[in-house]
């Protein structure tokens, strides 16, 4: 029996790793300076970034906020005497026109209306986006929002949106009463009942109900919509309507009913095969020629409809991708459980297909939102259209970067939030561990 010379009785304290391996220094060494080559590359990159930042900050940080015109800006910057590179931003244009770039020609005393409308968008979206974090009853507000928003933005009598809502109720009633008939037939009854109500309400409801009492918001013409508010209006409405339309189109494309299938395929392929700008030109010029003379069909409404159709065609294909990704077994399992078509879609197929399609859906949203700037080509004064109008004023003629920078910032905020949200949603819905 050999004698054990030494046995440790207790565990050693864990020693801290050497300074060169841990903490900030360790991170630096591991990621940025792990070899001579990497050190050189790091230094070079830092130098380039620093140089760019220095130039940018020098351009950004100039006291030109109060300037009244571009020549004002130029003299302020010249006084700074910065040597040969006498460049600096002219922020006076943002002070003078920032509001216009945001709200267009919307009457200032009614600015609270678009602000309220787009603020309400958040609680309206919350039950859909963050379902588990908000009370379920908020979904009623979401359902109300599509009627609340146009009323706030365009104004008019409160009976107009209420009349439209009542139309949906009438349609639903028709659907319930015809219980027992063929589903397609019931849908037709529902549509006809709603349409009949709307035609009646358009003529009579306002006059009848105004005697009872009404809340009127000053009507604001679409021509006064402009700037970022216009982009948001087109974007929000088109995004909101393109998803349900896209789902219907995607389902229609897979339908067994030949006529529906052909219609959906034709619609998707035609709309996808045409550039958005063409559709906008159709909306702005061609449509008016087909309508009876004297018909005033709101230009923004026309543009929104075209943008919605365009986005829904793309959306349909994105969702079809999600549907195709589902294994055949899911459909069969739904049938085996005895679910009918709509129940199977609602409970089994769509939740999975939509989850798979989230990145594609959000990409389509972001693309659509950025595409709204194309409306400047047909003479609508969205932020990009307004830059031309602002430069046409003698005092701001010649300003380019500040305006585009400001607009880019506005768009960046919205699109970046959308993309972060889609990442959150993907994590939340991550089920296959």
């Amino acid at each position: 029996m050999s004698k054990v010379a030494y046995v440790r009785k207790e565990m050693l304290q864990v020693r801290k790793p050497p300074v060169s391996q841990a903490g900030f220094l360790g991170w630096l060494k591991k990621n940025l300076f792990y070899s001579i080559g990497s050190s050189l590359a790091t230094l070079l990159t830092v130098a380039v970034i620093g140089w760019l930042l220095y130039g940018l900050l020098k351009w950004l940080a100039v006291p030109t906020w109060a300037a009244q015109s571009l020549s004002d800006c130029r003299s302020i910057i010249a006084e700074l005497a910065r040597g040969e590179n006498n460049a600096g931003a002219c922020w006076g244009v943002i002070r003078d026109r920032g509001i216009q770039l945001t709200f267009g020609f919307y009457p200032p005393e009614h600015f609270w209306r678009p602000i309220l409308a787009f603020t309400f968008l958040l609680p309206a979206l919350a039950p859909i986006l963050f379902a588990e974090k908000v009370p379920g009853r908020l979904i009623w507000f979401s359902a109300l929002y599509p009627f609340l928003m146009p009323w706030l933005l365009w104004g008019g009598s409160v009976w107009v949106p209420l009349g439209v809502i009542a139309g949906f109720a009438v349609g639903y009633l028709g659907f319930r009463i015809s219980n027992g008939l063929n589903t397609l037939f019931r849908i037709a009854i529902c549509l006809i009942a709603a349409l009949a109500w709307w035609i009646y309400a358009k003529e009579h409801l306002d006059t009848v109900m105004s005697s009872v009492g009404t809340i009127d918001l000053t009507p604001v013409k679409s021509r006064n919509f402009g700037g970022f508010m216009l982009s948001l209006t087109i974007g929000v409405v088109a995004i909101g309507s393109s998803l349900p339309l896209g789902i219907l189109l995607a389902l229609g494309r897979q339908s067994d009913l030949v006529l529906i299938k052909v219609l959906c395929v034709g619609f998707i392929e035609i709309i996808r095969g045409v550039p958005l700008i063409t559709l906008l030109f159709v909306a702005s010029t061609l449509l008016n020629i087909f309508l009876p003379p004297g018909t005033e069909f709101d230009i923004i409404m026309r543009v929104i409809i075209m943008a919605t159709l365009f986005a829904s065609a793309y959306m349909a294909e994105v969702i079809r991708g999600g549907l195709a990704a589902l294994p055949r077994g899911q459909y069969e399992a739904a049938e085996a459980l005895g679910l009918d078509y709509w129940k199977a879609q609602r409970l089994i197929i769509m939740p999975q297909a939509l989850k798979v399609s989230i990145p594609g859906i959000v990409s389509t949203f972001i693309a659509l939102f950025k595409d709204t700037t194309l409306v400047s080509v047909i003479g609508l004064l969205d932020p990009l259209g307004l830059t031309t109008a602002i430069r046409a004023n003698q005092e701001w003629a010649g300003i380019v970067w500040e305006l585009y920078g400001f607009i880019a910032l506005l768009f960046m905020i919205v699109t970046f939030s959308m993309s972060r949200f889609s990442m959150y949603l993907e994590r939340k819905l991550h089920r296959d561990h």
Binding site: G379, A389, Q394, G398
Partner: protein
């Protein structure tokens, strides 16, 4: 029963529409004139920070609104790009077009546009950096030229270089601002468009003296307000509104003295113009004092010119061809008789 009557009602709404009435009645019923202007050209049309439009072309819209509705502010401005302007006119989306539009044969005949006259005689010129040492357009052989697409300038440019046996590289741009940026960045040697616009842009450069406008004017660009073919009365109203502005300048009627002259003038020409004598207004279905309203809206032609693009504005365009015929220019109005 119910279904078929609903469908019928729908069809009736779609097919009938309102009865075809003249443009003047349409404008009066609406209470506003829909005027197509550019989305922004320095001095000609631009909205200020409060959203109110100003400029030479805008002044023309306001004058017509004053003549027809009695209120120069009763105008709904509908910004048009150079691509959408004629179809907007054809579809009735705008009542008149006042958007630095050149009067040409094909536009007049083929596009069914009726030009009501010429309110600005322009011509195409070249803006170039002095550093290039070019003093005549004849030396521009092989130059890169910034040129706006879809304009008459594009065609004129090609014609000019072909007739002079020279070649050029076009750099197509969409807007004036883009062209100026290209010019400043030396991406093109020279920018060619209407010389009034070149003047306006040169005035806003950081260093205007480093650039000059070449002496050659290579085209005729008679710019004017336009309406759609087919409604002669409406065309006459726009035409004679412009003529009233010109005649007012010729007779010395200004926005300052118009009401005074209307009351006290003994000059029969002035009395006819201002409607204190004769029945001229009624012939166009306008009130007798329509020209007074037109002149008080933005002044006579000379005042409008000076305040928006001429000597009282930073752009400072000379009257030149746009002076009255009595001062050696081309602006000449038929008589009010």
């Amino acid at each position: 029963m119910k279904l078929s009557s609903t469908v019928l009602a729908l069809l009736a709404v779609i097919v009938s529409g309102p009865a075809l009435a003249g443009k003047l009645d349409e404008v009066r019923n609406r209470g506003a004139l829909k005027c197509g202007v550019s989305t922004g050209v320095v001095g000609f049309s631009a909205p200020d920070a409060g959203g109110v439009w100003h400029g030479f072309d805008v002044g023309m819209c306001r004058a017509v609104a004053a003549a027809t509705l009695g209120d120069p502010m009763a105008v709904e401005f509908v910004p048009q790009t150079s691509k959408t302007r004629f179809s907007a006119l054809a579809s009735g989306e705008i009542d008149m077009l006042s958007r630095t539009t050149t009067w040409t044969y094909s536009r007049d005949s083929d596009l069914n546009v009726e030009f009501a006259g010429v309110n600005f005689y322009d011509g195409q010129g070249f803006l170039i950096a002095n550093a290039l040492g070019v003093s005549s357009a004849k030396d521009l052989n092989g130059a890169t030229v910034c040129i706006k697409t879809g304009t008459t300038s594009e065609l004129n440019l090609a014609d000019y270089f072909r007739t002079n046996g020279m070649s050029f590289d076009p750099v197509p741009v969409e807007t004036d601002a883009e062209a100026i940026q290209q010019l400043l960045a030396n991406s093109c040697d020279v920018f060619s468009t209407d010389s009034s616009k070149l003047n306006a842009h040169r005035a806003t450069l950081e260093n205007p003296d480093a650039y000059s406008i070449l002496p050659e004017i290579i085209s005729k660009e008679p710019l004017g307000p336009a309406v759609l073919h087919g409604d002669q009365q409406w065309g006459d109203i726009v035409r004679w509104t412009l003529n009233a502005l010109l005649t007012a300048e010729e007779l010395g009627v200004t926005s300052a003295n118009v009401s005074d002259l209307a009351a006290n003038s003994t000059n029969p020409e002035i009395k006819r113009l201002l409607g204190t004598e004769g029945e001229l207004g009624a012939m166009l279905d306008l009130p007798a004092d329509w020209a007074q309203k037109v002149i008080s809206a933005g002044g006579n032609y000379g005042e409008l010119f000076d305040n928006t693009i001429g000597s009282n504005s930073p752009i400072g365009i000379e009257r030149g061809l746009n002076a009255l015929w009595t001062n050696g220019g081309l602006q000449y109005s038929p008589p009010f008789r």
